[in-house]
C-alpha cells in the first residue's frame, strides 16, 4: 500500500526532441557536470557570505598560470620578461600577485600608468603602450624613466619635444610596428606599418633626434591567436626589420616585445571544436617563438650585437582561467519559440566577454533531469543582455547557482555600472582563506562624483 506521507519529490517535467541535426556533441559533454567548489571552497557558502552574483578568483590558479608561461619561455630563451597587461584585469590583488611573480607592467593609459606606480612598480619596469598619451603623461613617464612605446609620428614629435624640454639626451624608446604575418588580421591602426616604409621612416627620425634613441621593437598581432605559427612568422619579421633598421640607422635593438594574444581555454563563439582541442599550451607558443628566435639570432652575438630581451605582454592566457563568476537563477521561462529560458542575476553588464565567448556553465549542485537547450538572460531590460544564446542545462529552480568560467580576462575591467551595481570580487587564497579584493558597489559609490545643484532638488511634499 502506498503511504501518502512519503510523496515523491517534484522534479519539473522535461521533454526534449531527438534531433538528427545540429546537436553540438561537445557542448553537451562540456556542460554536463556540476561544480560545487572553487579552489576547495564551497560555492554555496561563498554566495551565502558574499552575495550573488559574485566573482571568485583563485590565487593558486593565477600563480600556477603565470609560472607555467614563465617556465615555458625561460627554459627556451635566455632573456625573457613578462609584462602584466593591466587592462586585462587591474584589480590590485591580481596585479600584485603577478608582480610578486616577477612581472613588469604593461599599461595603455595614464590612468593605468598611475595605477601601476601607486602599486609600487618602478617606472623603469612599466611598458607604456597605447595610441593616446597626453603631453602631461609623456612628461611624467619620460622624467621617471618609463619604457615608452611610440604609436604614431605625432606622438614621436611630442615625445621629442618633451625630452628636449627635460634636457634629456638619447632617451631610449620602442616603436610599435604593424605588418602582415599571413595568419592573423593585421591590427594596422596601431603603430608604424612595416611594408610601406613608415616604420623605417620613424626609425630615421629617431636616429636624427639628439633626444631620442631607438632601442626596442614592439608588435601585438591580435588577441586569441590559436595558431602558434603566427608568432613564428611575427618573430621572423621583427628580427628581419631589426637587422635592417640597425644597418640603416646605426642603432642597437635590445628589446623585442611581441605583445599578447595567447588564447585561454575559453570557447570563442562560432568555433565548434572544444577549447581543449584548439587552445595551444604555453609550451607550444614558447616553442614557436623561441624556435624563431634561435634561428633568427643565430649569428647575432658573433656580429657584436647583444641578444635582445624578449618581452611578453600576455593578458588573457595569464588570468582568464583563474576566475569564475557565480550567478543565481532568478526565473525560468518558456519563450514563444518553445525554447527554455532562464533569467539570471548576472548579465552582460558584468560578464562583458559573453559577447564573444561561450563560457563553460555549470550548476553548483548535481541536478537530476534531462538537459534541455536553454538561453540565459541577464537582469537588464535590454535585448542584448544574453549571457548565453544556447546551452544544454538540466532543470533548475530559482535560487540555484551557476558558475561561468573562464572569466578572469577583461570582465573586471570592461564591466559597466549600468542598471545594476557591480558585485564583489573575492579571492580564495592559497591557504584556503577567502579575501574580498573588491567589495560590492553601493549607491554611494556611484553618486559620490555627482553634484546636484541645490535648486534642482525635487520637492515631493
Amino acid at each position: 500500500m502506498k503511504n501518502i506521507a512519503t510523496k515523491n519529490p517534484w522534479v519539473a517535467p522535461v521533454i526534449v526532441r531527438h534531433s538528427s541535426s545540429g546537436m553540438n556533441k561537445f557542448g553537451g559533454v562540456r556542460d554536463a557536470q556540476f561544480r560545487d567548489e572553487i579552489a576547495g571552497v564551497s560555492i554555496a557558502e561563498l554566495v551565502e557570505k558574499y552575495g550573488s552574483p559574485l566573482f571568485v578568483l583563485s590565487e593558486e590558479h593565477l600563480r600556477q598560470s603565470v609560472r607555467r608561461i614563465n617556465r615555458a619561455f625561460t627554459t627556451r630563451y635566455a632573456k625573457v620578461r613578462q609584462a602584466w597587461s593591466y587592462k586585462t584585469n587591474y584589480i590590485n590583488a591580481v596585479s600584485a600577485i603577478l608582480h610578486q611573480e616577477g612581472c613588469d607592467a604593461e599599461v595603455v593609459s595614464e590612468f593605468e600608468y598611475d595605477k601601476a606606480r601607486r602599486l609600487g612598480v618602478p617606472a623603469s619596469r612599466i611598458f607604456f603602450n597605447g595610441p593616446y598619451k597626453s603631453r602631461g603623461a609623456l612628461t611624467k613617464a619620460v622624467s621617471e624613466g618609463a619604457r615608452i612605446h611610440v604609436d604614431h609620428l605625432d606622438e614621436l614629435a611630442l615625445l621629442e619635444e618633451v625630452a628636449a624640454e627635460l634636457n634629456i639626451l638619447n632617451f631610449p624608446i620602442t616603436i610599435r610596428l604593424n605588418f602582415d604575418t599571413g595568419f592573423a588580421e593585421n591590427w594596422g591602426r596601431f603603430g608604424f606599418n612595416l611594408e610601406n616604409g613608415q616604420a623605417m621612416e620613424a626609425a630615421r627620425r629617431i636616429a636624427a633626434s639628439p633626444n631620442l634613441k631607438l632601442t626596442g621593437l614592439h608588435n601585438h598581432i591580435g588577441t586569441f591567436i590559436t595558431d602558434p605559427r603566427a608568432y613564428t612568422a611575427q618573430v621572423g619579421i621583427m628580427i628581419n626589420f631589426m637587422n635592417n633598421v640597425e644597418a640603416a640607422t646605426d642603432c642597437t635593438i635590445t628589446t623585442l616585445d611581441i605583445g599578447g594574444g595567447f588564447a585561454s581555454r575559453n570557447a570563442m563563439q562560432g568555433v565548434y571544436l572544444p577549447p581543449e582541442q584548439i587552445t595551444p599550451t604555453a609550451e607550444q607558443y614558447a616553442e614557436a617563438i623561441c624556435g624563431a628566435l634561435a634561428i633568427g639570432l643565430k649569428d647575432r652575438e658573433q656580429n657584436g650585437k647583444p641578444l635582445p630581451e624578449l618581452v611578453l605582454e600576455t593578458g588573457r592566457a595569464v588570468v582568464d582561467e583563474a576566475e569564475w563568476l557565480i550567478s543565481s537563477v532568478v526565473a525560468n521561462k518558456r519563450l514563444p519559440t518553445g525554447q527554455r529560458a532562464m533569467v539570471l542575476d548576472a548579465g552582460v553588464n558584468i560578464l562583458f566577454t559573453a559577447f564573444w565567448y561561450n563560457h563553460e556553465v555549470r550548476p553548483a549542485r548535481p541536478v537530476e533531469g534531462i538537459p534541455e537547450d536553454t538561453v540565459l538572460y541577464g537582469p537588464l531590460c535590454m535585448n542584448i543582455d544574453v549571457v548565453r544564446q544556447s546551452v544544454s542545462l538540466p532543470p533548475l529552480k530559482t535560487g540555484d547557482l551557476l558558475s561561468f568560467w573562464p572569466v578572469g580576462a577583461y570582465n573586471n575591467t570592461q564591466w559597466m555600472q549600468f542598471i545594476q551595481l557591480r558585485p564583489a570580487v573575492v579571492m580564495v587564497r592559497q591557504n584556503g582563506q577567502v579575501d574580498v579584493v573588491r567589495r560590492a558597489e553601493t549607491l554611494d559609490d556611484v553618486e559620490e562624483p555627482e553634484n546636484l545643484p541645490i535648486d534642482l532638488q525635487p520637492d515631493f511634499s
Binding site: K7, P13, I15, V16, R17, H18, R334, G338
Partner: protein, 81 residues
Amino acid sequence: MKNILLATKRLALSESGFVFDPVSGQSFSVNDTGLVILRLAQHQDDIEQLTEQLLEQFDASSVEIKRDVQDFIHRLQGFLK
C-alpha cells in the same frame, strides 16, 4: 489544451522515458515526471484532474505543479501539432 491531452494517446511510451510519435515519426526523451504526466494524460483529458492526481503523488504545491504542467503541455503542443 484538451486536444493535446487527447493526442498523447497515440504516443508509444517506454519505461526508460523514450517516447515515439508514430504520426510524425519523431522521438523524444522525457524525465520521470514527464513520463508520469504522459501516462496520466493518456487516460485523462482534463488538466485540473490531472493536476489533482499529480498532487497526490508528489510533494509540491498545486501552484508549482500547475505551472510546470502547463509549461510541459505547451512544449508538447509544439511537438505534436
